[in-house]
Amino acid sequence: MRISTLALMAAMAAQPAFADEIWVSNEKDDTISVIDIETLEVTRTLETGERPRGITFSHDYKYVYICASDSDAVQVMDPDTGEILHDLPSGEDPEQFVLHPDNKHLYIANEDDAITTVVDVESRTVVAQIDVGIEPEGMAVSPDGKIAITTSETTNMAHWIDTETQELFANTLVDSRPRHAEFVKDGAEMWVSAEIGGSISVFDTATQTETAKITFELPNIHPDRIQPVGFELGEGDKFAYVALGPSNHLAVVNAETYEVEDYILVGRRVWHMAFNADKSRLFTTNGISGDVTVVDVAKREALKTIKVGRFPWGAAFRPTN
C-alpha cells in the first residue's frame, strides 16, 4: 500500500503541470465541468450557452465545440481559456454532432427540425441541410469519412448520408427511440442503440443490412427500464461499454460474440461516456444523480463518483500534452 502510494506520488510528480482532462456538459446548469483525470476532481467550471448537450474537440484539440441547444447555436470555445470564440450557424436546437475526419465539416442533428445540418467550421457557413426523420440525435461518421449517420428518435431510423453529395443513400429501421451511433472495427460495422427498444442493432456497413442485435438482461430490473443510450468501444474494439439509462448500469459487450459479459453499477440515468488516453478508465455522465462515475476498465469496477453540474449529458476527452 505504502509503495503504491509512493509510486503514485512519483508518477504525479513526473506529470507536467496539467493532467489530461474529461469535459462534461451540464444540460441544466449551462456549464461545462472540467475533470482532471489524475486527481479525479473538477478543476474548472466554464459557462456556455443554454442547455449544452453534445460536446467534442477538434482533432487537433485547439477548439471545443458545444451544442448549446436552447441558444440554437454551436459554440466554439478555446479550451485553454474557456472563452467562447464564436458561434457557428447550426440550425435550430442542435443536440448532438460529429466532426468529420477532415477536421472541417461538422454534422449536426437539429432535434426540433428533423434536419441534419452540415457546417464548414473554417468558413463558418452551412454547406448542406439534409431532411431526416423526427428528432434526429445520434451522429457518427465512418473512419474513411465517406459516410455520416443520423439516427432519428421518433422515426426510428438510421439515415445514411453520402458525405460527397450530402444526400441520403439509405434509411434503415431500428428499434424504438434510437439514441447513439458508432462505426466499429475500422468502419466495417455500424452500431445503433435504441433506448425504448432496449437493443443495439449491428449493421454491415457495406450493405447497410442488420447482421446482429445486442440485447440486455439484468436480474431484478424490469426489461423496460434497461434503456441503452450512449456507448463507446474500448481498446482494439474488443469490448463495447453501453450506458443503460435508468437501470443505472453499464454493460460490457463482447464485440465479437455480441454477448454481454458484465454489468457495472454506476450513477442514476447514465447517458454518455468518454475514455482517457489509453482507455484504461471510463468516465460516465449520470443525468439524474448529477455526477460522473469513473470506471476501472480492466477490473470492470466503479472507482469513484465525481460531483459535477445539474444533468451532465455529454463527455469528451482532452489530452494536454
Partner: protein, 388 residues
C-alpha cells in the same frame, strides 16, 4: 379500407428495407360535446381537442413514411351533439376499416357492434370508462385513452407511497363526476384504502365570490383526513376548494395533485420535444385527449412501418403482439394488453406547476409488467372478447 398502391417507386432506390408505396388514409370520428356551464371561464375547452393530436401524429408518421414510400392523411368526421351516428359510421366503414374515435362510450359500442365493423380496427382515443376494457370490451376496439381505473389507481399508489391513509371526498353531480368518484372508491378498495366521508357539492351560488366563506364551512364537519379528494371532472367547482378547506390538507383528484395521462408539465424522456412540436402546430398546450389521439395515429404508423401492411387484421395482430412498442415520451415502451386491447402506459401525477411523480410508483411490483398495476389486470378482467 385503407387504400394501398403497390408499385415500384423512385424512392425505392433510396431504401434498403422493402419499398412498397402505401397510402394510409385514417378517418377520425369526433362527437361534439355539449359545453357545461362552469363557474370559471379561465380555461376554455379548445374546439380542436383530440384532433390536433391526431394531426401531429399524421405529420410524425409522414416524416417517417417519406423514407419508405408511405403516405398518411387524416379525414375528420364531425358529429353534432345529437347527430345520428349510424349513417356516418356506415359511410366510413364502406371504404375504411381503421377508425380513430373521440366518442362517448355509447357511440363507441354502437359503431363497434355494427356487422360492417366486425373485422375493423377501432382505436378509442378518449373514452375512459373502465367497463369498455372489462365487461363491455370489444375485440375490434383498442384503447389509447387510459381507463379511469388506471388514473385513479395511480393516485392510490401515490397515497400509499406517502402513507396518506385517511381519505375524504367532495363529489360533483355531473355524470363524469359520479364516474370518477366511483373509480376513486374502486381503486381505494383495490389498494386497501377507504374513502371515508363523502359530501356532494350541489351549490348554485357563485363561488368565485364567496368560496373563502363557504368552503371552510362546507368542509368543517368532515372528520380528520390526510387528503381531500375532489371528484369534479366537469371542472366546475374544484378550483375553489384548494386552500379554502377547514383543515390545512392537500387536495387531490380533479384538482390539486391529479392523475393525468399527459400534461404540459411532463418534461422528462424527451416529452419537451413532443410539446414543442404540438405547440407549433396547434398554438396551445397538449391535452390528454390530444395525447390519446396522437398515440392512436402513431400506433397505426408504427404498425404500418413494421409490417408494410395497411389492412385492419394485420395491423391489429401486430399491435397486440409483443413486437409492438410505441415510444410515448413517458420513459417506457407502451404496448397493448392482449386480453382487453388497452394501451399500457405510465400515469403522471401532476399539479399545474410540476409532475410530482409518475405511476407505477417504485415498490408496486407485478409478475409480468409493472404497468399492469394500473387498471384492471388480466386475472380480474371479465373481458372475454379477446380470447379466440
Amino acid at each position: 379500407m385503407l387504400k394501398s398502391v403497390a408499385s415500384a417507386v423512385s424512392l425505392s432506390s433510396l431504401i434498403s428495407t422493402s419499398a412498397m408505396a402505401l397510402n394510409v388514409e385514417i378517418p377520425m370520428l369526433v362527437r361534439e360535446t355539449e359545453e357545461i356551464a362552469t363557474l370559471s371561464n379561465l380555461d376554455p375547452c379548445p374546439a380542436d381537442l383530440s384532433i390536433q393530436g391526431a394531426e401531429l401524429a399524421i405529420a410524425d408518421n409522414t416524416t417517417t413514411g417519406k423514407f419508405l414510400g408511405h403516405q398518411y392523411s387524416l379525414k375528420i368526421h364531425n358529429l353534432s351533439v345529437d347527430g345520428d351516428l349510424a349513417d356516418v359510421a356506415l359511410s366510413i366503414l364502406a371504404d375504411h376499416q381503421i377508425i380513430i374515435t373521440d366518442l362517448p362510450s355509447e357511440d363507441l359500442l354502437q359503431i363497434a357492434d355494427l356487422p360492417e365493423a366486425a373485422n375493423a380496427l377501432i382505436i378509442n382515443a378518449t373514452a375512459e370508462d373502465s367497463a369498455l376494457r372489462d365487461g363491455a370490451c370489444r375485440a375490434n376496439v383498442l384503447h389509447t385513452a387510459p381507463s379511469l381505473a388506471m388514473r385513479t389507481d395511480a393516485l392510490m399508489q401515490y397515497f400509499l407511497f406517502k402513507r396518506w391513509g385517511k381519505l375524504a371526498m367532495i363529489e360533483g353531480t355531473y355524470p363524469q363526476d359520479t364516474a370518477y368518484a366511483e373509480a376513486l372508491r374502486y381503486s381505494a378498495t383495490k389498494f386497501g384504502l377507504k374513502v371515508g366521508e363523502t359530501k356532494t357539492w350541489a351549490f348554485d351560488a357563485d363561488m368565485r365570490r364567496n368560496a373563502a366563506a363557504e368552503v371552510p364551512l362546507f368542509t368543517q364537519d368532515l372528520r380528520d383526513y390526510d387528503v381531500l379528494l375532489v371528484a369534479d371532472e366537469a371542472e366546475d367547482f374544484g378550483r375553489y376548494v384548494a386552500y379554502n378547506t377547514w383543515l390545512p390538507r392537500p387536495v387531490a383528484g380533479s384538482e390539486g395533485i391529479s392523475p393525468q395521462v399527459w400534461a404540459p408539465v411532463v418534461e422528462q424522456w424527451g416529452a419537451a420535444q413532443l410539446h414543442s412540436r404540438f405547440e407549433e402546430l396547434a398554438d396551445r398546450s397538449m391535452k390528454p385527449e390530444d395525447y390519446g389521439a396522437w398515440a392512436a395515429v402513431r400506433s397505426i404508423g408504427e404498425a404500418v412501418t413494421r409490417t408494410n401492411a395497411t389492412d385492419a387484421p394485420t395491423l391489429r395482430d401486430y399491435m397486440l403482439s409483443p413486437e409492438f412498442a410505441l415510444a410515448g415520451f413517458k420513459g417506457t415502451p407502451q404496448t397493448f394488453r392482449a386480453w382487453n386491447g388497452q394501451m399500457r402506459q405510465p400515469v403522471p401525477l401532476v399539479t399545474s406547476r410540476a409532475m410530482v411523480m409518475q405511476a407505477p410508483l417504485p415498490g408496486f411490483m407485478h409478475q409480468t409488467n409493472e404497468l399492469d398495476t394500473l387498471g384492471v389486470d388480466a386475472p380480474e378482467s371479465s373481458c372475454t372478447a379477446f380470447k379466440e
